[in-house]
Symmetry: C2
């Protein structure tokens, strides 16, 4: 083999092995290779093995001088495009205000919708670019971004177009999801919006390749299961994958609907009970937990421990958004999942790599194996566990996407 | 006035006003000045006011072009000097191991003691320097560092000497505390150690100015109140201030002892009940809460809300240490205090500035007023609340100590 590039000096190479999501006890089974090397050609991994087993040639060699190397993280749930801020809500919540009081004061999600609608595309891109850069610095190499602050066909398409344009501004690999977020308060408008979503929004988004999946927020105060089912059926008819916000505050059937319709993932699950957990364990749908939301809102964290013990495949995401999860680090989401959702470090790494990739329907990343995209992290540390252990600092030294070092990461605090 | 330096372009200047700790509802009373300027001479603040009110001259002017400026943060409780790591403990805890099982496996605090004892001073300094740099990047300008991984007179003095030497390696202002941490298991050795502490360790530390305070860890499994009282009386006899680790797991009288002996602060308080809270509220002792410990160990957070509502003066610290709080950001400790300890953003800023300074017995910092040290933060944002709001990224753009920009901070994610 004559590789484009050889990476040596890898003290520890740690990866899940694929291509399928790992569930239950298999989430702990990481492949750990000391003194490893990686050969890269055409932006993909050509070879992985012990450094002394490499006997071929490479055009260039990079010596990491003894660092831990992990697969690039995948952040499968963000709302990274928004305008305005929610600092007044943050302050009001800390003073004990209810969400209803925040809405009455002009805050809440509708304030983000107003600000986002008022922002030109260039402004949305300029605002989102440093947020994406922060996620990349923390180790994310593939990032899902949702629309959902539009609340009209035109505004949702504008958000999807901003996400598409953003893709050219960042080194990260971006996947766009069309999110059907909050329904109109008027029942007639609510029915009309579903019609517009199904007859106009989804067909245009699919035809113009503006989204690869459709997401619906299922909650007592949001969309209900029968409405979501209509939207999902339309999405699937147009060749789009489906995923759900469900069981955040109440279990009203979203998990069961998602499993029945073969959703890629059901996300949130803070209110999921044994019935939902066992159903997820018996399905191929990924259970995505969002520890930033629990931390920021002070709601109970999703029971990641029970999900894994039951046999489910768990993923973790930042849910980066201004109202309920201002968490600008994918690595920190994994570190929080160990503290808040009961994951072990091994499970958290699996949740943030291969399982997160599968939550996006992607099977060519989230692991370091021949044929996969050469997306990887170099830590400051020579022990991969520092990725999950470190709080309040960025343990990532370098982020590589497609075989190229795209961004320096944080600064060294551990050995 | 002819100042050394004028800082202009301050969109928002926010500070508590001093010199005394703020308690109860007064913790919310911040002084907020839009379009401000600060004049600096001889490393101290010479003037603060609306920019258009400045009519004097300065040798140099720095235009911040519209950023929020806050007092430099004070981190009044860290154990930033250690060798070895506790990654095995971290992994074992995530798998559900008890502390006893971790000790049996060779982990726990005694493993840090072994590693620290085995490390030469130069290694201790090299290991601690990037940790201190991380705290400074997060906004800390004065940092307390404790000994306490020595467990013998010689080893504690070696730690204090390492802290003294470290002081010359960092731009932060360092205060050293002698911590009497974990007692010997043998009752005779336990009594002997107290004797050595009082006849040798404290006198030498005081005489050589190696510590400004003595701290004792009071807990069922650590030192008891009668022992701590002996140590504290000796400390005060030698002119040192006193402070306590108390009420972390059990209330065994540490709060009451600390108040009676006029301790600067009682730190932890996770297990403090109404009696302790009301006693603190009626005292001049600062109640220091440590949200990193609650997050990392999964123990209940100290009830900051009740402490403030009762009228206590609350401070916040990272408690940076390898076993129970690997939290490398003072700003993140404040952000966590809003989520975990029930503080408002205003209260958290007070807790991390003026009250934290008072917890170290310092009255010349932690606020932006004439005569105070010119230690300050510049945020990426023009809204000071972003310091507390942002999770997983560093909202600090610049850190100034003694009127000089010492370190770039994080990267912009908010506006």
């Amino acid at each position: 083999m004559h590789a484009d590039q050889l990476i040596t000096g890898i003290a520890q190479l740690v990866t899940a092995q694929g291509p399928h999501a790992r569930r239950g006890t298999a989430m702990s089974e990481l492949h750990l290779l000391p003194n490893a090397a990686i050969a890269i050609s055409n932006g993909r991994i050509a070879w992985v093995g012990p450094e002394h087993d490499w006997h071929d040639t490479a055009k260039a060699t990079v010596d990491l001088q003894g660092a831990a190397v992990l697969p690039g993280l995948i952040d499968p749930h963000t709302h990274a495009v928004w305008a305005g801020n929610r600092l007044a809500d943050f302050e009001a919540r800390a003073r004990g205000a209810t969400y209803e009081e925040m809405l009455a004061a002009g805050g809440g999600i509708r304030s983000t919708v107003r600000s986002t609608a008022a922002a030109p595309q260039q402004e949305l891109i300029a605002l989102a670019t440093p947020r994406i850069a922060a996620l990349v610095r923390s180790g994310a190499t593939t990032i899902e971004i949702k629309s959902g602050y539009g609340f009209s066909v035109a505004a949702e398409l504008a958000m999807l177009e901003a996400i598409a344009a953003l893709t050219t501004q960042t080194s990260a690999r971006i996947l766009a999801t069309l999110l059907i977020h909050i329904p109109p308060t008027d029942p007639t408008e609510r029915r009309t919006y579903i019609e517009q979503v199904c007859t106009t929004l989804i067909p245009i988004a699919a035809q113009r390749h503006l989204a690869s999946a459709v997401d619906v927020f299922i909650e007592r105060e949001a969309w209900h299961c029968d409405e979501a089912e209509t939207i999902f059926a339309c999405a699937q008819h147009h060749g789009l994958a489906i995923k759900l916000h469900s069981d955040q505050f109440h279990s009203i059937g979203g998990v069961e609907l998602g499993i029945r319709m073969r959703a890629l993932s059901v996300d949130h699950l803070e209110a999921a009970g044994p019935t939902q957990i066992n159903a997820l364990a018996a399905s191929n749908t990924i259970a995505t937990v969002l520890p930033g939301v629990s931390l920021h809102l002070g709601i109970p964290a999703a029971n990641g421990r029970s999900l894994i013990d039951a046999g489910a495949a768990v993923a973790v995401a930042t849910d980066l958004n201004p109202g309920s999860s201002p968490l600008f680090s994918t690595a920190a989401a994994l570190a929080l999942a160990v503290r808040s959702n009961g994951l072990t470090p091994q499970e958290a790494l699996t949740a943030g790599t291969i399982n997160a990739a599968c939550a996006l329907g992607l099977h060519d990343r989230g692991r370091l194996e021949p044929g996969c995209l050469a997306d990887l992290l170099v830590l400051h540390s020579n022990d991969w566990r520092d990725l999950l252990y470190t709080l309040g600092a960025n343990p990532v030294r370098e982020v590589w996407i497609g075989g190229r070092k795209v961004q320096p990461g944080g600064t060294k605090v551990t050995t």
